[in-house]
């Protein structure tokens, strides 16, 4: 099962196994990892599951769609490595993925 590492803003690190086809957001929520709110439940409609993808991983993830790009305008302090974690599906290729949470979601 792919291992995903979530780093909280205070550097607290959580590495958990997340089954394929779940999203990075679901991996955090199901493991009670703080820092990802996901208010809309994964509909790409709220920008409260915003993460910064580790630089080394950013290009390995499927590119973001227009809806996500638009929604990222609403995120707190987005940068070029910003993604909405509900839009990243876990697969074997993402084993070892590292994402960092912003200091707040909203």
């Amino acid at each position: 099962m792919p291992k995903i590492t979530y780093i909280e803003h205070n550097e607290k690190t959580h590495t958990v196994d997340v089954p394929n086809d779940l999203t990075v957001m679901e991996g955090a929520v199901q493991n009670n990892i703080p820092g990802i709110d996901a208010d809309c439940g994964g509909a790409c409609a709220c920008a409260t599951c915003h993460v910064y993808v580790d630089e080394k991983w950013f290009d390995k993830i499927e590119k973001k769609g227009d809806a996500e790009q638009d929604m990222l305008d609403m995120a707190f302090e987005p940068n070029k490595f910003s993604r909405l974690s509900c839009q990243i599906s876990i697969s074997d290729e993402l084993d070892g993925l590292v994402v960092k949470m912003p200091s707040k979601q909203a």
Binding site: C40, A45, C46, T48, Q69, D70, D73, M74, E77, N79
Partner: protein, 340 residues
Amino acid sequence: MIKTDALVIGAGPVGLFAVQQLGLIGLKAELVDNLDKIGGQCIELYPDKPIYDIPALPECTGESLTNNLLEQIKPFKPNFHLNERVQEISKENNNWKIVTSGKKIFLAPNIIIAAGVGSFEPRKFLVKEAEKFENNGVFYSIKDKTYFKNKKVCIFGGGDSALDWAIELSKFSEVTLVHRREEFRGAEHSASVARELEKEGKLKIKTPFQIKSIEGDKKISGITISTEDGKIEKIDTDYVLGFFGLIMKLGPIAEWGLNIEKKTIPVNTENFQTNKEGIFAIGDICTYPGKLKLILSGFHEGALAARACFKLARPNEKYRFEFTTTSKKMQERLGVKKGD
């Protein structure tokens, strides 16, 4: 003071359907919602997105679902209290006394919380000076545009609100539109109008910039904006407007003594009552073992909560289960009673 059988908090699909279920069994409802329109997340977040899992509706949109529900509850003539957030509740004999942000007061034996993820509020600037200047130079909505006449105004955001207000205010104010990336997500037409105004020198556009700080003592004197690469610019301005859409916040609900688990309210699945008698929670805001955050689950939850409301609203009457296909009473309430 408004007396009613049930006060429904939240005019999303689940709150609307609860009104239908209450109406069928003869209970009157009042609806309160913090948004300025009916439909909740369906209207605010995804009016055009298709929904495929509403029973017997192969495909609909957030908007059409809302319109259909409104049609369905028309016979019950519910009153909507929009732009109102429920602030406080307190027990008064057998009733709950409910006070809204607009100081409306309701008295009802039942409260049904169908508030989704909470109330929608404007997403705010996160620089620390923004709070100090809020409503004194920093705004998230415009009530009277003439307030900005002949002033310097910086507008942040890339959606329709930001574009539309930038275009509108540029007619009589000195406007700078700031957005974090080159593309605007608002209507293409508005974006091209804005670019045209920029060429004519009637509007300044700064991209890809974000706010860094707001300067000023008693009032705003200017702001500093920066790019991701660290390029910094200063802009003299009188007002700063942010249009970043809305965010959902649980808000005052958290202070009513209800059990709260991860921003949701645990309920008894027999009647969707919370830990307080006469307060029910349905839809996304409630939780119980096996809870699914689907609109269809909310409909079921509302049907059961409505029956439980009956007991408290009509303590001396006996509730009788009936079908709309055959119940004359229900058909009368629906306004569809056919002659025998």
